[in-house]
């Protein structure tokens, strides 16, 4: 519980600096410091137990399905990192208060810094590996935001993206590795994982897991070949560089190596990969660091190099190596943070970080110079400073490695060489900046920074000295606890004494110090170090090139494939259909199983007419009017086919729908060219024809296969129950309004929505009407011919009568609300045609969409009425009524539902007719 609070204080408190600053005017730095100090105090309260060797594990189950639990762990290793994070964090908070200029948003800065602090604490205090990954990614995100803090600077933006890309990719690899670990161990809890070392190392997936986890660690800790993001991350404000990119976040990879040391280390694979990468990184980066002219660039490569050193130490896989690694981690964090702060002070006071322009600053800021010199000495491994001790341990370890056999000398030699470069660039850092002649051409005269800006540096440098002089007193308890936690076993023998006698490591140190000094001065004076031009290509060029290539490539791909061509999408859909059809048809037999009705002349004739008309309509589709007439023929023939096969309901519906469709299309046709141009190429026409024919043929074959076999369905139920329980002889109608009335309710809603959609589509549309017809003839003069008007008027009452008749008998004979509605709609449409829109509107002055709404509500209300009788929605009832004259008459609740359908259908036809009729209304032509 306590550990989660330690993490949550900075994490959830990230918005506090902003809030308190806005509301009460509190300095955001104070808020941040208070939060960090609280967390630090809480951690320190646990320190005695942990230093005594205890491992505190606490937490609760969070998402057990995913294996993600909110469990935390505080052991020596975690304590060490937590102290670094919070301690250096506090110093950075103090330092940044003076570093940032007044116009920069301190609120945002401290908020992000706290966010990072919480995330980093989460990484080092997590017991659950998935939780660790969670916080791991959060550190990448907060680092992204912090590097991009100076958003106007293009380098900052690029550096931020680069860092996120590299560390994000590593995080994903780590996630995969952790999931595999969980799969192998059966738990994500560190306690179980650390105890399962032998299982993991013996597992066939060991190499895979190792590589994935190492990818995560190496990207985060900027190991070769993923190191290139770190120098570019230096575009961040210097406090960020000091904190994230040298002391803490880049140590997360190191932390992971140490954390998983018992589970993974000690195999040959581990040695070759980890120490190989570490050694390469250390050597390469130390060499490159010498050639950086930018102070922070030098420090960045130096950081990379030291991280390589630590990695190399872990790579040895020996307990003593691990302890040395832990020790150097502490020392590096302390001296490197102070060096970054010193570099920041120089930048702050002189306005430049270019060592070619800086010189002799010691006379302007002697105190800062002294501090920086001591810290650089620690970095170089000068005796009496902390760096010397860990470096001695490092040298000693390189001599102990067993894996290389007869080539045992390679490691000590390489280590010494790397140290030579380390000494050389450390010397350069101090000498170029603080010594020599006074600087030329600086914007202002430099002087010592504000008092409190130096305090953090002083504290850190003091630590360098104290650890260097009194290691056993200052650092040994912590190192012991941390080392024990890393090893999960007994500590090796080691000594933190200042002097072990004259031995090989001391000799190596001596060679490094002398050699480094020689190289620096030789380079400086004989090879023109300052004239060295940085290479223009590095990892960023490659990574950004890759991204640019990926963007360009995916643009080509996406624009090429998803090209917004409806033709292509339809083609794909049809090809997919054909594909599944062909695959699915495996084993399909087309031989008829059921006895077939022998064909008669009428059926053959109808089928032939249907086929010819349908093909003609398709083939002649460019002549729109003709195609429309042919579609009318198709509709007519289809309904005749329905009649022939005793489906009068279907026939009527088909006929009416067909006619109404044709009429409505005619309304639209007026505004379109009479012929649509042929746009497709010959190839496409052939291809499309083939696809269309294949799909049509497929559908036909399926229908054939289905209809030529006996089938058993639930239809008998409808036939049997339509009259006794549905109250109607017309089974089709009873299905529509009762058995499956709910479907019908949905379908009339579709109709209604379609009408509303047409209203929306044609809302403000006013089209220009053509002045002449397709042959160039002027239109006839008479708008509403007398004959038509005379004939149309009596048709309306007649049609209404037919509608009522069809509606009322619908439950027992062909008819029903849908058909009746279409008949009424057609008759009203004729009035519009004969008398014009204005005339009809005057006589039917309603808002037609109201009819749709009312019809829907009526149908719904019918369904709801059954609730009153405790029955489910749409439960029907019926009864018989004896009317005078008419005789016995059936009333069914389903008829009210049918009435709703009727009203909706009429409303829909009216909406469309009214809307299309108004299209050319005002802006049209003269008579």
């Amino acid at each position: 519980m306590l550990l989660s609070i330690v993490i949550l204080i900075p994490l959830l408190g990230a918005w506090l600096p902003t809030a308190l600053s806005r509301a009460l005017g509190v300095d955001p730095a104070r808020t941040a410091a208070a939060l960090a100090a609280t967390s630090l105090a809480l951690i320190l309260s646990q320190a005695p137990d942990v230093l005594a060797g205890a491992t505190l594990v606490s937490g609760w189950s969070w998402i057990p399905t995913a294996g993600l639990n909110a469990t935390f762990r505080l052991d020596g290793f975690g304590l060490l990192f937590a102290l670094l994070i919070l301690g250096i964090g506090l110093l950075v908070i103090l330092y940044a208060r003076y570093y940032l200029s007044p116009e920069e948003s301190k609120e945002r800065f401290y908020g992000l810094l706290l966010l990072f602090m919480g995330a980093m604490l989460g990484v080092v205090l997590a017991e659950n590996l998935l939780l660790l990954v969670t916080f791991w990614e959060l550190t990448s995100l907060s680092s992204f935001l912090l590097i991009g803090f100076w958003r106007h600077d293009a380098d900052a933006r690029r550096g931020a993206r680069l860092a996120l890309m590299v560390t994000g990719a590593g995080g994903l690899a780590l996630l995969a590795g952790v999931l595999l670990i969980g799969h192998v161990v059966g738990s994500f809890e560190l306690s179980r994982v650390l105890a399962a070392g032998p299982v993991i190392k013996a597992h066939p997936l060991y190499e895979t897991m190792l590589v994935l986890v190492l990818l995560g660690a190496f990207t985060k800790s900027a190991q070769f070949p993923f190191h290139f993001w770190l120098p570019h991350a230096m575009a961040a404000p210097t406090p960020v560089s000091a904190y994230l990119h040298s002391a803490t976040m880049v140590k997360a990879g190191i932390f992971l190596l140490g954390r998983l040391f018992p589970a993974f280390a000690g195999t040959e694979t581990w040695f070759y990969i980890v120490s190989g990468v570490g050694l390469t990184t250390q050597l390469f980066a130390a060499y490159v660091a010498l050639f950086r002219h930018d102070l922070k660039g030098l420090l960045a490569y130096s950081t990379v190099s030291h991280l390589g050193l630590i990695t190399l130490l872990f790579g040895f896989g020996t307990p003593a190596g691990a302890v040395a690694a832990v020790f150097h981690t502490i020392n590096h964090a302390v001296f490197k943070a102070s060096l970054f702060m010193a570099a920041g002070i120089v930048d702050h006071e002189t306005g430049t970080r270019d060592m070619r322009r800086l010189s002799g600053l010691a006379r302007f800021m002697p105190w800062t110079a002294a501090l920086a010199t001591i810290a650089a000495g620690a970095m170089a491994g000068v005796p009496l400073l902390n760096g010397f001790l860990s470096k001695e341990m490092f040298f000693a370890e390189t001599l102990q490695v067993q894996w290389l056999g007869s080539r045992y000398w390679v490691l000590p030699l390489a280590a010494t060489l790397a140290s030579v470069f380390t000494v050389a660039y450390s010397t350069r850092f101090v000498h170029d900046v603080f010594f020599g002649p006074p600087p030329q051409g600086l914007a202002r005269v430099p002087h010592e920074p504000p008092r409190w800006m130096k305090v953090p540096v002083e504290i850190l440098v003091g630590l360098c000295l104290l650890v260097g002089l009194l290691p056993a007193l200052i650092v040994d308890p912590l190192l012991r606890a941390a080392g024990g936690a890393v090893l999960q076993g007994p500590l090796p023998e080691y000594s933190l004494a200042l002097w072990h006698g004259f031995n090989l490591p001391v000799l190596m140190s001596g060679v490094a110090l002398t050699g480094g000094a020689i190289i620096y001065f030789a380079r400086r004076y004989y090879f023109g170090l300052h004239g060295y031009r940085q290479q223009r290509y590095d990892g960023r060029t490659l990574a950004e090139g890759l991204v640019a290539l990926a963007v360009a490539g995916s643009r080509r791909l996406v624009d090429g494939v998803a090209n917004a061509s409806l033709q292509r999408y339809v083609l794909l859909l049809l090809l997919a259909t054909l594909g599944v059809g062909l695959v699915g048809a495996r084993g399909l037999s087309l031989a008829p199983i059921a006895a077939l009705t022998p064909p008669d002349a009428l059926a053959v004739a109808l089928t032939a007419a249907l086929a010819i008309a349908a093909i003609a309509a398709t083939a002649l589709h460019t002549q729109r009017l003709l195609a429309l007439v042919l579609i009318g023929v198709v509709g007519l023939v289809v309904s005749l086919v329905f009649v022939r096969f005793s489906a009068p309901d279907l026939a009527l519906t088909q006929l009416l729908v067909e006619i109404v469709t044709v009429l409505l299309l005619l309304l639209a046709l007026y505004f379109m060219p009479a012929e649509s141009p042929r746009e497709s190429s010959r190839f496409r026409r052939v291809r499309d024809t083939m696809v269309a024919v294949a799909v049509g043929l497929g559908a036909g074959l399926l229908a054939w296969a289905l209809l030529t076999r006996p089938f058993s369905t639930i239809a008998w139920y409808y036939l049997e129950h339509a009259k006794p329980q549905g109250g109607g002889y017309n089974v089709v109608n009873v299905i529509l309004v009762d058995f499956r009335g709910f479907d019908t309710l949905g379908e009339i809603t579709v109709l209604g929505i379609a009408a509303v959609a047409i209203l929306a589509l044609l809302q403000e549309l006013r089209l220009v009407a053509p002045q002449r017809d397709w042959d160039g003839r002027p239109w006839a003069v008479e708008r509403h011919p007398l004959m038509l008007r005379v004939l149309a008027r009596p048709l309306l009452p007649l049609a209404l009568l037919v509608s009522v008749y069809l509606f009322l008998r619908g439950h027992n004979a062909p008819g029903g609300g849908f058909i009746a509605g279409l008949v009424t709609g057609t008759a009203i449409l004729l009035q519009y045609v004969a008398y014009g829109s204005d005339w009809a509107r005057e006589r039917l002055p309603w808002n037609y969409s109201t009819a749709i709404a009312l019809g829907l509500l009526l149908a719904t209300a019918t369904g709801l009425a059954s609730w009153a009788f405790g029955a489910p929605f749409l439960t029907s009832t019926f009864g018989y009524l004896h009317w005078p004259v008419v005789g016995e008459f059936e009333l069914a609740s389903a008829m009210v539902f049918d009435l709703g359908i009727y009203v909706v259908v009429v409303g829909v036809v009216m909406v469309i007719v009214g809307r299309l009729g108004a299209l050319s209304g005002s802006g049209g032509r003269g008579t």
Binding site: L164, V580, R586, W716, L864
Partner: protein
């Protein structure tokens, strides 16, 4: 008689119809009524969720006709969860629409919005194949009308694509339903699950073609490649509130796959066992990859959001394609997450576009946004959710999918595709975010700065993001629920028993018709 299962259908139907009558109402009354309707739907959905979380599956036989003869509505855990999800997204999008006053352009917006909900919720509730077709039609035609809303040229074009493709899809759906009914003789899901395994080898191919045709239709709805290319442009062109609601729309296709295939064409289905399996996984992986590349390739934020939908559908269908209880659980959790995240993204992108006077949502350098800090944090959280980066629910969902795929023969391919695509999306969003929020040029003098987004407009994405956070904070309960729902899917006996068992009529006396 408990009528609650049908209320999520009746509420939007009645509300939509009443709103059609509301042309003369004052705008505020219309807003209030519409909002009240969606809030009521949320309340009902939550009640249903509570009811089925620990209780039995609820079955509602319409018209009192016993299944399989009548239509039934079935509320199980999956359906209830998706109802709540729909209602949440609907509340947020409607609030946003009202706050940004996009409604002014089309007076019938509210009615169409309700009808869209009718289609979605009906599809989630129905237990009948043909009824599913009906609700697909409802949601198609409503989405067409909503997409048109505003009538910009790109919207009309996108809407045409949507409607033409989906009408073809409807025809295929009918063909598939006809084939299945022709051989199985029933349309009820549960009844199909009983009949399909017993099909003779002569009938099986027809049912197989039917099942695969349905898969094509569902793939079209859920924008599975190669049928999903239309989606990004269409969603990118839609009004923000509409696009946010559309984030649910693709999930209807996914839901249909989850509902139909494990139940009726699962491992127990005899000759038709696992009929969808060989198709789904490769296509889902392709969708995932292509979606991620689309996000990277997008030149505007809206288009990127459109591709995000494709990317998340890909991830989601990978989980479905595992056809295992763990896979279903991951899919269910990820569905909820990705719907919320995409919906939030559409809203946030719209707010961002409105705050950039010159560039809109294009990824070009433009003058600094007056409310960049505020909208930047919204965008950041949304991007984190969408990209599946910790600590938001996308990460949990991804872990669940990876976990579920661990035992699959193609695990290595699935893992690398999922993680690789995630990286591409992270890079894409880092690029987009830094281009929009960081790379700024001085504002042109004299232009009035855009107004601060209203509190209500901010509340809409904030509420969705709150749900995303809740999905993590109470992740234990959420995943446990997803697992329970997944077990129901994996073991369909409970569903069949709930629909057909007990005192319902037995359809065993199916009769030969010819």
């Amino acid at each position: 008689m408990n009528h609650l299962p049908i209320v999520p259908i009746l509420l939007p139907l009645i509300a939509g119809s009443v709103l059609l009558l509301s042309t003369r109402w004052p705008a505020t009354a219309r807003h209030a009524f519409s909002l009240a309707a969606v809030v009521a739907q949320l309340a009902v959905a939550i009640t249903l969720l509570v009811m089925v979380t620990d209780g039995p599956i609820r079955v509602y036989a319409l018209g009192g006709w016993a299944p399989p003869f009548g239509i039934v509505l079935v509320v199980d855990r999956l359906a209830a969860a998706l109802l709540v999800l729909t209602a949440i997204v609907a509340c947020a999008s409607l609030l946003y629409a009202v706050a940004r006053d996009t409604e002014a352009a089309a007076p019938r917006f509210h009615a169409l919005f309700q009808f869209q909900l009718l289609g979605i919720q009906g599809a989630f509730l129905t237990g009948d194949l043909f009824n599913l077709f009906v609700f697909f039609e409802v949601l198609l035609i409503a989405s067409y009308a909503l997409l048109l809303h505003g009538l910009a040229a790109d919207r009309v074009r996108a809407a045409l694509h949507v409607v033409v493709l989906n009408l073809i899809g409807s025809a295929l759906f009918l063909l598939g339903v006809a084939l299945i009914y022709g051989v199985a003789g029933t349309l009820n899901f549960a009844d199909l699950a009983r009949v399909i395994p017993a099909l003779t080898s002569a009938d099986a191919p027809l049912a197989r073609i039917g099942a695969l045709l349905l898969l094509v239709v569902f793939a079209l709805k859920s924008a599975l490649l190669p049928l999903g290319f239309w989606l990004p442009r269409a969603y990118g062109a839609a009004a923000a509130a509409v696009a946010a609601l559309f984030a649910v729309l693709t999930k209807v296709g996914v839901y249909a796959v989850l509902r139909v295939y494990p139940l009726a064409f699962g491992p127990q289905a005899g000759e038709l066992a696992n009929v969808a399996e060989p198709w789904l996984l490769p296509l889902a992986l392709a969708t995932l990859a292509f979606g991620a590349l689309g996000v990277l390739a997008a030149r505007s934020l809206r288009l990127a959001a459109g591709w995000v939908v494709l990317y998340s559908v890909g991830s989601l269908l990978v989980a479905v394609a595992l056809f295992s209880a763990d896979g279903y659980a991951a899919a269910i959790y990820y569905t909820v997450h990705s719907t919320l995240a995409s919906a939030a993204l559409f809203l946030v992108v719209d707010l961002v576009a409105a705050d950039r006077t010159t560039a809109g949502d294009r990824l070009d350098a433009a003058d600094a946004m007056p409310h960049g800090a505020l909208l930047g944090s919204f965008f950041f959280f949304t991007a984190v959710a969408v990209a599946g980066v910790p600590p938001l629910s996308g990460f949990v969902g991804k872990v669940l999918i990876l976990d579920a795929a661990g035992a699959h023969p193609a695990a290595a391919l699935i893992w690398s595709s999922l993680l690789g695509a995630a990286l591409v999306v992270i890079v894409a969003f880092a690029r987009a975010g830094s281009a929009v929020f960081w790379r700024t040029v001085p504002a042109p003098a004299g232009a009035p700065p855009p107004p601060r987004p209203s509190l209500a407009a901010l509340a809409a994405p904030a509420a969705i993001l709150g749900c995303v956070a809740a999905l993590v904070i109470w992740g234990g309960s959420a995943t446990a629920f997803a697992q329970a729902a997944a077990r129901d899917l994996d073991n369909p006996a409970g569903y069949i028993e709930a629909v057909l068992g007990g005192d319902h009529a037995q359809p065993d006396d199916r009769r030969r018709l010819r």
